[in-house]
Subunit: 252 residues, 3 copies
């Protein structure tokens, strides 16, 4: 169904792309095959930056209603968004990013493969996010150490790290691979791999394998009990990366 859509004739659109009701596609876009774009979305929104590269949207994306994606980003296959998300220009995004409702990717950032975010996640400009990272609701990745200023010290998050609900990542935070930032924590500085950070002082509370759900005897790290939540093509990578991080943590 493509009624009441407005597609710039310069837009390059792949095979079998479906548009919802009231979609606007700007001209500076290259949309891969088999994408689904929901109602009232804006795709390829113009940037204020001159001579912006096109938005490259990989095959198989599912973009839910009221999303806004700017020109000038390069997004891998199988993006899946919730409703009302925003992705600004200059984002380099891997395979199968999943975004919760109202997520706000401020652009000029790098996001790896198979990253998941929940609602109201805010990724400040310049952030570097590895593969298989989780950002839960209300997570904020800051970048200005002396607000307001012209200084930019973005956050870096290692592969397979988990950032829980309502966490603030202070400017310049570097999170080691497989670390877990507990809900409500304020993290800063250099965080070792596979540790738990908790509290508003962001202290190390122990290694992640201390985290256990007693009733079900489920424990961290998550790659041992949650790999089936990913597409099958990702599971070997999860196992290999998980083993690597476990070894790295054992060495500390």
């Amino acid at each position: 169904m493509t009624s009441f859509c407005h597609t710039d004739p310069a837009a390059k659109i792949g095979e079998n792309v479906t548009l919802g009701f009231g979609v606007r596609i700007y001209g500076n876009v290259e949309i891969g095959d088999n994408c689904q774009i929901g109602d009232f979305c804006v795709i390829g929104h113009p940037s204020l930056k001159p001579d912006c590269a096109p938005l490259k949207l990989g095959a198989g994306a599912v973009i839910r209603s009221h999303a806004v994606i700017y020109e000038g980003s390069d997004i891998g296959p199988h993006l899946e968004t919730g409703h009302h998300v925003v992705i600004r220009e200059g984002a380099q995004i891997g395979e199968n990013l999943r975004l919760g409702n109202y997520s706000d990717i401020e652009g000029a950032c790098h996001i790896g493969d198979f990253v998941r975010m929940h609602s109201y996640a805010h990724v400040g400009r310049g952030s570097q996010i590895g593969d298989f990272v989780w950002l839960f609701s209300l997570t904020t990745l800051m970048n200005d150490p002396l607000p307001p200023s012209h200084i930019s010290e973005p956050v870096t998050i290692g592969d397979m790290a988990t950032v829980c609900v309502n966490v603030q990542l202070m400017p310049g935070t570097v999170i080691g691979r497989g670390a877990m930032i507990a809900s409500g924590a304020v993290a800063h500085g250099q965080i070792p791999p596979a540790v738990i950070i908790s509290g508003t002082d962001g202290e190390v509370a122990g290694p992640v394998h201390f985290l256990m759900h007693m009733a079900s005897r489920t424990r961290h790290p998550w790659h041992k009990h949650f790999a089936d939540a990913y597409p099958e093509r990702a599971r070997d990578r999860i196992a290999a990366l998980g083993a690597e991080i476990d070894a790295e943590a054992a060495d500390l």
Copy 2:
């Protein structure tokens, strides 16, 4: 005014329903009489779940612009939403729910009668919310005790409880009737009726009737000074339920 709307002919729409500009109504919906649906709303959005029940939207709803409501929920009369809200499939919602802007109801939950939420409230899947509950801005109801995992331990909130701004309700929290969770608190575990919870340790700070606004000599519980903010048909229920909770608290 129904210009530039797209209504699936299978949708069942009551008498005297008004649609804004650019509304999309999917087919699997039953909309009651006298509903008002704002501009750029999406009603009956398809779920990924197969064989989803229809969206049943009770009479007299006021749904403001850019809202998204999925199929598969059953919503009582007199829903009133702010702008940009999302309600996912599987929500069982009572009478006269009022939602603030950007509220996110993740579905598969139960919400009682006359519940009020402010902006950016996030209700995780499986949550159980009683009657006359308040959720203020940025409240998050979590459900995964070992994120990310397949374990689900949703939150339960008793009747007439108040959850203030920027509160995190940890997975499995059970809030007693009439309790008040102070702003910025992190609540967890079993919370008795009619107590105040405060701080990031979620400790009991005292009974709610200790809460007093000195200048106006107004004090908690709220049902004694705020029942007039509800429709007249609700006031006897508020008085009866309030008296019950007061008695329950006095017994502790």
Copy 3:
């Protein structure tokens, strides 16, 4: 491009105003010259208040997609909004307000000139915000000291104050000019000019000129190193106001 827009013929629209795709303009509006209104915006949304004044939108506004602005507000020239913002009725707003995505201005408030907000800022009804104020992401300005109640004690923020990420401003907070509320803080009561407030107890941590970014030797107050981020016409005012606040702070 004005296709699929719906403009009430009663709306007063200036010269050289551009509308995106799928814009709705209600009748009770006066839009200044050279405004740009993005896709799927709703301008002049009806208020529930009877006999509401028109929305007066100053010249040169840039309103990004999916924004909702009510009738009954008076907004100075050069408003610039992100996506999905909401501005309710009764807001008196100065020159060149810039709003981040998902900002929620609840109305009946006063906002000075050259104010900047980032994403998910929530300004409660009745708030008073001075000139050159910064509100970073997830900032909440509360107004009800005994929620829920009919009592209203809104927040007042002095000129050039900075409120960092995820700050809660408790009802009735009065922030002195040039103060800085650190990220994650909970502020309350009377806050002196040009001090730093931090922590969930909202204590004074020192004067703002203690704040320094070591690597670049940049220090607070920001008016000495960040005035160039404002339009040229604002810079003399920043210098004069900054000097005034510095003198006021030195007297303490």
